[in-house]
């Protein structure tokens, strides 16, 4: 006997005494042009894999993985954004029927129903028919889900200016920029109000952005120091024009050093 109670073992082990030759299975079930997995079919799969790998490696070389500035919990101006495959959930939570008092709706009920339905699909769609047109409810629900996910992702991504975002958040290694504190411009920087918000190393703070990694001319900086920009009020600078010039040149030079 090959199996069951009459099976013979070597000693006390689980290894059968009479090794059976491997017998290939009967594939009469599939009468078409079948072929062996190894090596015929696997070769085709691997050729696809090799082409895919070349494309994938080209992608990694053409587009370096993005890295933003080191996390700064005090950066209040930062707009959070999840990775793209979570954008649809992120977008869903923006709608009125899914936020505020209906938060449960957006965070639990809708995704729960969708993913729960997906998980239990074999039991919800338990007929014997397999073709999509023969099970219209399952097919249309899936298409509906698909369209809404794509549409939500699109809606979320459309409102983001990806290029500006990438530009603003370029990584800066702090040590790379050395502030020349002997510079007369730094004197002006620290005696005027600048240092209070932008920090003693131009690194920025809770109320103001970093002055390192900015791309502005001296004229623009002089204008901003006097007239403000964004959340920075006007009239912050109260020195002479000569000091203003020194300050602007100092900030420009701090951005050039590298």
């Amino acid at each position: 006997m090959k199996k069951g109670k009459g099976m013979q073992f070597v000693g006390d082990s689980r290894i059968t005494a009479n090794k059976q030759k491997f017998i290939p299975k009967d594939y009469s079930e599939y009468p078409g042009k079948t072929e062996a997995f190894w090596p015929n079919f696997l070769l085709k799969e691997w050729l696809v894999g090799a082409v895919f790998l070349v494309g994938f490696l080209s992608l990694t070389m053409a587009h370096p993985a993005p890295l933003e500035k080191m996390a700064d919990p005090t950066d209040a101006a930062y707009i959070p954004l999840p990775d793209w495959y979570f954008l649809f959930l992120y977008q869903l939570l923006k709608y009125q029927f899914a936020s505020g008092p209906y938060f449960i709706m957006g965070a639990v009920v809708i995704p729960g129903l969708a993913f729960g339905g997906l998980f239990l699909a074999p039991f919800l769609d338990n007929g014997t028919k397999r073709r999509p047109f023969h099970r219209p409810i399952a097919t249309s629900l899936m298409l509906l889900g698909l369209v809404s996910v794509i549409w939500l992702t699109w809606e979320a991504a459309e409102h983001v200016d990806w290029e500006v975002r990438a530009e603003q958040n370029k990584p800066v290694l702090e040590e790379a920029v050395e502030i020349d504190k002997e510079d007369p411009g730094y004197e002006v920087y620290s005696s005027q109000a600048c240092i209070n918000c932008h920090g003693d190393n131009l690194q920025g703070g809770a109320a103001a952005p970093s002055l390192i990694g900015i791309d502005r001319s001296a004229e623009e900086i002089m204008d901003i120091a006097k007239n403000g920009t964004g959340s920075m009020p006007a009239g912050q600078f109260e020195g002479s024009d000569e000091e203003l010039q020194q300050l602007a040149e100092f900030i420009v030079s701090a951005n050039k050093e590298e």
């Binding site: 491997f22 599939y30 190894w38 894999g49 370096p64 996390a71 930062y78 990775d83 239990l120």
Partner: protein, 224 residues
């Protein structure tokens, strides 16, 4: 020599059937793109597995440089990406692979769904597969925090706030994930790291093993 070693082992533990079963099974015509070009849709599962292998390998290599610590995490990522040879490629593989694997999983899921391939007797394998999808999404979510840059930090803060707003279990879930009821910081990073490199991959391996064993046991679904 190799043959002798093989025979020696095979005589004792009978390993031949293990690989012969995989190597010799016949692949039916309807999944073979050589016969029907439309059968390329059957590639997505295999490509998902391939990208998963890339993810595992590149992840293993990345941990040679990466440290899960809020002071050094970003610096180590910056260092490995800018200073170490091919660091940009290895990190790029892991970063883009995370996106590609989701795309491939998505396409694979759609193929199985629209072909009705999850029907009896393959219900169990469908559920295993959907679980793998969830694990992959969780891997993406936890991995997103690890470089500790602004986008990682603020996205995770939002995620944790969503978890914290859940009814009944909110505070519990948030504290469990973040390691602190208020702060998203040192403990959050170490927790996400542990989940990302130990807990989720362990679950992933178990589920993938089950997925493949079930495929071999039940065979691929017949033509429509």
């Amino acid at each position: 020599m190799m043959q002798k070693i093989y025979d020696w082992i095979d005589e004792r533990v009978d390993i031949t059937p293990l690989w012969r079963d995989i190597a010799d099974h016949e692949v039916p015509e309807h999944v073979n793109p050589a016969h029907h070009f439309s059968a390329f849709v059957y590639c997505f599962g295999g490509l998902t597995f391939f990208v998963t292998v890339i993810q595992i390998l590149s992840g293993m290599f990345l941990t040679m440089y990466y440290v899960p610590d809020i002071e050094n995490a970003w610096k180590s990522v910056y260092y490995l990406q800018t200073e170490v040879a091919h660091g940009q490629i290895v990190r790029g593989m892991h970063h883009w692979g995370a996106s590609v694997v989701i795309v491939m999983l998505f396409l694979h899921t759609l193929r199985v769904f629209f072909q009705g391939a999850y029907k009896k007797p393959r219900e169990l394998n469908w559920m295993v597969g959907v679980s793998i999808f969830f694990i992959m999404l969780a891997l993406g979510l936890t991995g997103y925090l690890l470089p500790w840059d602004n986008k990682a930090y603020f996205a995770t803060q939002v995620t944790l706030n969503i978890a914290g707003d859940l009814p009944y279990i909110g505070d519990f879930a948030k504290t469990l994930l973040a390691g602190d009821p208020e702060i998203v910081g040192a403990q959050t990073l170490t927790r996400f790291f542990a989940i990302h490199v130990f807990f989720l991959p362990a679950a992933l391996f178990a589920l993938m093993g089950a997925h493949f064993i079930l495929i071999r046991k039940q065979g691929i679904s017949g033509p429509l």
